[in-house]
Point group: C2
DNA sequence: TGTATTTCTTGAAGTAGTTCAAGTTTTTTT
DNA sequence: AAAAAAACTTGAACTACTTCAAGAAATACA
């Protein structure tokens, strides 16, 4: 089932059938159990993960020992720590499956080999990365300009189906407020 | 003076002399005055800006009418709104020179033409974008885990020379606290 | 060089959130 | 179906910041 990735790639570039074949032969799908980690703090990240099905998250453990989610990834998203990946330095993050997920794990050596055979893919990864960076900037804008309650309602409006999929405390930390406060917002007690 | 960009590119990929020539012939340096805007909220962003010299910032105006800086860019940084650029939608941001700056303004049409002639550059832009995204994730981590005072000292330690270059109120908003609070942190009154 | 503008400082009052602790509900596993 | 674990709720006390207002200092530019 690499179809999902091929389809995603073809939103941005056009592959020759032969190129699609090369790509398919290099990829394999793995299943990740709920709560399983694909990256731990301190590890050097050398793998990109493309989510075919399911939900992953990138999180940290703060000084009080509480998890804080920095990023969610769902179907058709790449999730990884690019800073650790490019600089070969220990990651600050954990990456974990929120629900049972199917992903394509693409390690650095394999990716470099693929990029030599299909240089066109550089373009695909460029565009994906630029859009991700753009999205991160919008995220910072929302964190800066909206109150906790506004962030909750805004997220809820944009992603009503997604809110059902993750525990509230994870979403609360992603929106940068406490799980208790989330509870009060939902109950209208704020 | 395109040297700065060529040097930056050659940190990531190797160009043939002929490719460097093509590139040079497509670029021109412009000078931007202090406070001059290269992007306004509501405009579609179709240009990437490479900073050769000086300092630029991306900011918004919040609901209280106050400017909040989301991103600074200095020598050897690209600054743009990639989401507006890729989706051809109105930008949420202003991009402005903090000090008199020399930049290479690369518009979409020119860039696409260059990328056709020198596809290798896709790789350069990919790596730059991935590292930028990685940096944005770290920025979110710091915003989430550190107190205002910790963010100030952390930033100060990492970028002592930079802190001298920008007004404190801009840095305060970048670190997500008020100018008044910054003043108190600096005076040790907190 | 002088004047206008921008930037920085200070204290007092207010508030949007956090933290803690305990109980309840829901979900998962056996 | 029962037991265990995970997730959610509630109120009371607290605190890290903001806002406002006014004056002082620094910087820009005519």
């Amino acid at each position: 089932m690499h179809k999902a990735l091929l389809q995603h790639i073809e939103k941005f570039i056009t592959l020759e059938p032969s190129e699609a074949d090369i790509l398919e032969s290099c990829l394999n799908v793995t299943t990740i159990k709920r709560k399983e980690l694909v990256l731990q703090e301190g590890q050097v990240c050398d793998t990109l993960h493309f989510i075919i099905k399911g939900c992953m998250r990138q999180y940290i453990i703060n000084s009080k020992g509480t998890e804080q989610t920095l990023q969610f990834g769902i179907e058709n998203w790449w999730i990884t720590d690019y800073l650790s990946y490019h600089n070969t330095i220990p990651s600050h993050f954990y990456i974990q499956a929120v629900e049972k997920s199917e992903v394509i794990a693409l390690d650095k050596a394999t990716l470099e080999a693929i990029l030599i055979q299909i240089p066109k893919l550089e373009r695909y990864f460029r565009i994906v990365a630029q859009k991700s960076f753009g999205a991160a900037q919008m995220r910072i804008k929302f964190l800066f300009t909206m109150s906790a309650e506004e962030r909750y309602h805004h997220f809820n409006n944009l992603n009503p189906e997604f809110v059902q999929r993750v525990p509230q405390y994870m979403l609360a930390s992603y929106l940068d407020f406490s799980a208790e406060f989330m509870s009060k917002i939902r109950a209208g007690k704020v």
